[in-house]
């Protein structure tokens, strides 16, 4: 005992630098290292994210038509215009419908895929890749394939060909809003594009569940299958599920590409970003109104995200384990 104590006192831990030892300049400084690694990212963030956001807020208080350096201050006029514009308000309804379709279906499909892939004994990597690959596809490319090939309104569109086998007439999937077949096209495109990504998140979470839990449950008489899934797997995935739902909701708010390319210039099926593009930016070049709409949308996304986090318990997942 005494020998050990003496040796500890005599020779300090090597991790601690001796005051006499010369420092290796700034490279030894944690502060320097922080700025070295985070600086470029922070500069990019400031230039490409925060500056445009601030500029947008500034623009929203000006009459900014055909210019992004306006000089006519209009106060909250742009906000009033956007909030009383029933098309913009209607776009929020469209978003709600879209989110109601896409969030639960993507959650269920990606979780289902993750459970299937996780159970595989062989070719797991192959199937994981197959389901993940659509994530790498451009939304624009997928939208064009969906529009021109699978859901084309003419007789040689894939879906119409299948319907013709059963004697059903051609459907103009994306043209006629009555009935609103366009939702089938939009939701299926997005499901294909994003389920693989969320499957990977669920897969990682599934592999983090300790095997002992299932063993203990089995000893206690729990039947494998639905009972185990409901009482062990699902609660263990709570943190991941909450994060997935949050990400899906934000992604739904940001929907643009597939709506823009599948439903060109309609007045229905316009989520907020498409509505902002048509009504205020894009061809109309009304950057003041567009910025006001963007600010309203940002505030809304923040509020919904915070509320959702509060109700679904985002961040409480670790405690619940």
């Amino acid at each position: 005992m005494s020998t050990t104590t003496t040796r500890d006192l005599a020779s300090p831990a090597p991790a601690k630098a001796s005051p006499a030892r010369p420092r290796r300049g700034l490279r030894g400084s944690p502060t320097f290292n922080f700025w070295l690694f985070c600086g470029p990212f922070l500069i990019g963030l400031a230039i490409f994210v925060y500056a445009p956001i601030l500029w947008s807020i500034w623009l929203s208080f000006f009459e900014a038509r055909f210019t992004v350096t306006p000089d006519k201050f209009v106060g909250f006029e742009n906000y009033t215009y956007m909030l009383t514009n029933d098309d913009f308000v209607g776009s929020l309804v469209t978003f709600t419908v879209f989110a109601a379709f896409i969030v639960p279906t993507t959650w269920a499909l990606s979780l289902g895929l993750a459970l299937l892939v996780n159970r595989l004994r062989f070719m797991r990597a192959f199937f994981r890749s197959v389901f993940f690959l659509p994530t790498a596809c451009s939304y624009v490319a997928a939208a064009l394939i969906w529009k021109m090939s699978i859901f084309s309104g003419v007789r040689f569109g894939l879906m119409n060909t299948i319907l013709a086998w059963f004697g059903i007439d051609n459907i103009a999937w994306l043209v006629d809003p009555n009935p609103p077949w366009y939702w089938v096209v939009i939701v299926s495109a997005r499901l294909w594009l994003q389920s693989g990504f969320y499957m990977i998140l669920f897969l990682a979470a599934l592999q983090n569940i300790p095997g002992e839990l299932y063993e203990a449950a089995a000893i206690d008489g729990a039947k494998p299958g639905w009972q185990t899934f409901r009482h062990i797997t699902l609660p263990q995935l709570r943190a991941t599920s909450t994060a997935v739902i949050l990400l899906l909701l934000i992604a739904a708010y940001q929907a643009f590409d597939e709506f823009f390319n599948l439903l060109s210039k309609t007045t229905w099926g316009r989520p907020p970003l498409v509505e902002l593009y048509y009504k205020a930016l894009g061809e109309s070049q009304d950057y003041g109104s567009g910025s006001a709409g963007a600010v309203i949308l940002t505030v809304l996304i923040c509020a919904v995200t915070l509320l959702q986090g509060k109700f679904l318990g985002f961040g409480r997942g670790e405690e619940s384990k």
Binding site: F151, S152, G153, V175, K265, E283
Partner: protein, 418 residues
């Protein structure tokens, strides 16, 4: 051996040095303006992607032939053209020249340069309607490059087989579409959104977009009746909907997907090649009994970016190409798709427009044509597109849809004219 001197640190230094040198070289050489035959001033021009083969090469050939500046062309996909142009005009990368349609807000916001001095000497040789559609307060902004009349193209054999006469009223067009629809062929195609026939439907109802005082002139009983008829047509099952190509592309007619298609004169060579002589053209029929058949004379004009760095050089190039080089202008108008040259002297000698359906197209242009109104802006255009979307495709009450459009158009008019 020398390899012993290559420490890991040396290798990193060498790699960093090479990367830096490469970056500097890239900064110096790749300015995006090389490749022209001129020297000194560099000009950039934006063109939307024309559908006809050879057009991009032609525009680049003209640019290369100009020896007073290096002219670089950006050829932009049609669907993205407007948004890319408007967004770029706000930046330092804005083009010096660009093609677009005459719109007053571009003049009022100082985006386009006054070209009166280069057009004035040859003003009398231009189609007066084209000059009028580019004039604000006596100044001319933009040089018309081509006029594009738009009307219906039809398959003669299909109409003969169905015993259908060429329609002269909207009711007759609806009846024709019904008779021409078979299991595999739809009677009529006007694009999925029907936007290409909005203007002609209004004119054929005896109305207009704006009156002389720049007040709303489209909100009439005739237009409301027309919208109701268009709704009936849309739900009839006789319209081709969901076609793979837009209405500006004649593929639907050429491939036998429809018997009648609304399109532009530019498509004539492609239709001739696909269908031989089995086709004809007719104007948009009368919407109501008191209306008149109409043809939309679209087209493209060349504008100079007034906020560009090389306004004078850009004007000089516009003058050289679109005013002095008559051979290029004729080639541009008649060698790819068919367009009508806005210069009377060229239009009169353009042999390809002298016979057959091309001559018929020119006749319809002269007899029924309506030109762009410079006061009718993109935002106003969008408002009427919304009327068609809401009333024709979604069954909203036309009166209510037009009221909504009125509010949006009046907001625009107030901002533009006070």
């Amino acid at each position: 051996m020398s390899n012993s001197n290559w420490s890991r640190r040396s290798l990193f230094r060498a790699a960093a040095g090479m990367a830096a040198a490469g970056t500097l070289a890239a900064c110096g050489g790749n300015n995006g303006r090389s490749g022209g035959s001129g020297s000194g001033v560099g000009l950039t021009q934006f063109f939307h992607a024309y559908g006809e083969a050879g057009t991009e090469q032609a525009i680049k050939k003209y640019a290369k032939a100009y020896d007073k500046a290096d002219v670089t062309t950006q050829w932009i996909t049609s669907a993205d053209f407007e948004s890319k142009l408007f967004a770029t005009l706000l930046t330092k990368n804005a083009p010096d020249l660009f093609e677009f349609h005459p719109q007053i807000q571009m003049v009022k916001s100082g985006q386009v340069a006054d070209l009166t001095d280069i057009i004035e000497p040859v003003k009398s040789d231009f189609n007066p309607a084209d000059i009028k559609s580019h004039t604000v307060d006596g100044k001319i902004y933009g040089v018309r490059m081509i006029d594009d009349p738009q009307f219906f193209f039809y398959r003669k054999s299909m109409l003969e087989k169905a015993k259908v006469q060429v329609p002269t009223t909207l009711d007759e067009l609806m009846e024709a579409a019904a008779k021409l629809t078979t299991g595999k062929v739809k009677g009529l195609y006007m694009g999925d959104d029907l936007h290409s026939v909005i203007d002609t439907m209004i004119w054929s109802a005896g109305a207009d977009h704006l009156n002389e005082k720049n007040e709303i002139a489209y909100h009439t009983p005739g237009v409301i009746e027309g919208i109701k008829k268009m709704r009936k047509l849309f739900t009839s099952g006789h319209l081709l909907l969901g076609a793979p190509t837009a209405s500006w592309d004649p593929s639907s007619l050429n491939q036998g997907l429809c018997a009648i298609q609304f399109c532009g004169m530019w498509a004539m060579p492609a239709i001739q090649q696909a269908l031989g002589d089995d086709w004809g053209v007719f104007p948009f029929p009368k919407t109501i009994d008191s209306g008149k058949q109409s043809v939309y004379n679209g087209g493209w004009s060349m504008f100079v970016n007034a906020k560009g760095k090389n306004v004078d050089a850009a004007k000089e190039y516009v003058k050289w190409l679109w005013i002095d080089q008559k051979k290029y202008q004729e080639e541009w108008a008649t060698s790819f798709g068919f367009h009508i040259p806005p210069r009377t002297s060229i239009a009169q000698t353009a042999t390809k427009l002298k016979s057959g359906n091309a001559a018929e197209g020119v006749k319809l242009f002269n007899e029924f044509g309506h030109f762009d109104n410079i006061g009718w802006t993109q935002a106003m255009r969008t408002s009427l597109e919304d009327v068609f979307a809401n009333s024709v495709r979604k069954d909203m009450d036309p009166e209510a849809a037009l009221d909504k459009a009125d509010a949006a158009v009046n907001r625009e008019l107030k901002k533009l004219f006070g």
